[in-house]
Symmetry: C2
Subunit: 376 residues, 2 copies
DNA sequence: CTGAAAGCGCTTACAG
DNA sequence: CTGAAAGCGCTTACAG
């Protein structure tokens, strides 16, 4: 056998991780007795060893069908290349995590969830941030290669900087990959985690309608973002359910940032008639709305009700505290890692898309329209 | 050839590390032309390949004389096993980074600085957070052992959870370690990075004095924290320089958190005479002060001036924007990593303690006492 | 103690 | 697109 891996195995017998044990339990009878070689995987998949080699090395000259068979066999047997194998015997696993930026409470909460679950599972987290790439920008193939070379056990993507080609490159090479709240649906088989944005948008809007508001504006997120579209459609659905229709001029879009909220509020306050309530697509946007309201002496919630989205600590700490649609951000992070661990163990996933439930949390920024008394 | 190392070498020709280049320059003519295989080393040593294999794998059944010949040849040719070779060609170094928590703009900014410099230096960042430790709590020795086993190139500590014993354990084992803004001075030789807290505290207070304030309160950080003591002493020095003395009841302490600011403001507003200005030991504390001011309808800066500390985006985005002592947080992160890289390279450091300069940034939360007109 | 020979696991080149 | 065959580099078993 190659490169003295077994000597190592002997010396460090006690350090085998639970994974390794688990992955063994998924091996089929055929592979159970022998070593788990590439040839064994080939047998399992009903193809030749060279074909498995090609799939592992990301060659193009493999049919989609064969590739699928091989990937399945790889997952089922829990095959590890000698390098990975050695890594499992001697070291800790690490998951690669990539964020767009950490400058949002949203990102930090998701990261907290990942870190927590990683600590529990004894896995390292290798963090990087898009835009802070090294001197040499990498092609999707190179990046995938590197992830494999470094022996990462998977990839959590919380950025829109990775296109479908990149995600596909990870997936084709069998790197378990999970995308959190993607702007666009990821390609084919890549797992994605989101929340019930549509329901959240509907809940936020219904709450305002229940309070008696009829002119409700939506200060939305980026036009292209799927989560924003879902929230917008939830908003429209709630209006329609009461026989109201959305007015274009009450619907804005822009980045999930405070300054967009400031601009949006300026725009809305110039309208005649003004809306009496605003549903903001994120807490940061809502804080911008709130700041501009304060500058223009528009009292919240007396003269303007405001609902945010995300439910981060920003919502709790703002004055007035912000009614907001809470997303289980930590849980999203935890779930992402959980999925990767499952894929590593070769378990079959029930679904490629998971939506966790949002929950409207009512605080002090919403009230009936034209309320005369400040909320206590 | 084995495990695709050569294809890799081709594809990543440009990425060879200086390392590798160095080892090449040691190759003899014989090995220069071909690949540097174990067989080539054998030729060089005048023995067979199996013999070299035995030496590399630490077998006993090799004569001392033969072993010496082989070791010499190994050194002269710079032979690397496939695994090592691969690691050199593809492998990256990683620095271990430990935070107390990421739930502060302060922490995220420091982390941003680390990530940025890491990306530039092609180094991975392995992040963890204190309190989210795995199932098995590690002893200082075990933790140090693990850092070494995983081949980390260094350790950046932004937490008070590691005591002097832990830091010492890292240092004794030769793991380059840098502590950022430690609550207490780290032991002996460990490098620490901070800012000019004393000067910052003095600047903040002098600014308020210059505006004409005489009753200035300090809503401080944790009693034990060195950075807090320095800020407090800067505050007192500024007062003394004007012939004023600090009043105990104007000096509070507590955690660097919003709720402490809220409580502090409640306490101060009950005093008679009230202070006309507050120096808060962090932006989060200042935001708590600001929130309570709003609740109690105390206008800032007209009825109460407020200076924060940190200069994170929180200060910029608050309404009114917060005058604050800016710390170069990103630069602290960058500097920490820079120090580790230097220690790795064996450079001698001029100093075990670095203080970066703070800078007072004046925004809209400070004004002369009892100003009648709001600041534009 | 040494190394020729056999073997292992993976990859490559190429015939079909 | 696939896989039999050849090849590579390292290791092992064993004859001397």
């Amino acid at each position: 056998m190659g490169y003295n891996i077994d000597g190592l195995a002997e010396r460090r017998e006690t350090e085998r991780t639970k994974y390794f044990e688990k992955s063994r339990s998924h091996m089929t009878a055929a592979t159970h007795q022998g070593k788990l070689t590439l040839a064994a995987v080939a047998r399992e998949a009903g193809v030749s060893a060279p074909t498995v080699s090609k799939v592992i090395n990301g060659r193009e000259d493999v049919s989609a069908e064969t590739r699928t068979k091989v990937l399945t066999a790889l997952a089922r047997t829990g095959y590890k290349s000698p390098v990975q194998h050695r890594k499992i015997l001697t070291g800790r696993q690490a998951v690669e995590v990539v964020f767009d930026s950490l400058n949002s409470a949203y990102a930090v909460e998701v990261l907290n969830g990942i870190l927590e679950h990683a600590a529990e599972s004894d896995i390292d987290v290798v963090l990087s941030v898009t835009g802070k790439q090294g001197a040499t920008p990498l092609s999707p193939e190179q990046r995938a290669r590197r992830i494999i070379d470094e022996g990462r056990c998977g990839m959590i993507v919380v950025t829109s900087a990775f296109g479908a080609d990149q995600l596909d490159a990870f997936h084709r090479r069998g790197v378990p990959t999970v995308v959190i709240d993607p702007l666009n649906p990821p390609p084919g088989d890549v797992v994605s985690i989101g929340t019930t944005n549509w329901a959240g948008g509907k809940d936020a809007t219904s709450h305002l309608l229940d309070l008696g508001h009829r002119r409700i504006a939506y200060v939305g997120g980026p036009d292209g973002a799927e989560c924003n579209q879902a929230r917008l459609h939830g908003y429209m659905a709630a209006l329609r359910a009461r026989g109201l229709s959305a007015e274009d001029r009450y619907i804005l879009s822009g980045p999930f940032r405070t300054d967009h909220g400031v601009q949006g509020m300026k725009t809305l306050l110039r309208l005649e008639p003004r809306p009496t309530a605003i549903f903001a697509a994120s807490d940061s946007i809502a804080l911008g709305v709130l700041a501009e309201a304060r500058r223009q002496n528009v009292r919240v919630p007396e003269e303007m009700s405001l609902v945010g989205f995300d439910g981060t600590y920003l919502a709790e700490e703002s004055v007035p505290a912000l009614t907001s649609v809470t997303q289980p951000l930590q849980e999203m992070g935890r779930a992402a890692l959980r999925f990767i661990l499952r894929q590593m163990r070769g378990e079959t996933l029930d679904s490629r898309r998971v939506e966790l439930a949002t929950k409207l949390v009512i605080r002090d920024s919403t009230a009936p329209p034209q309320a005369l008394e400040p909320v206590a």
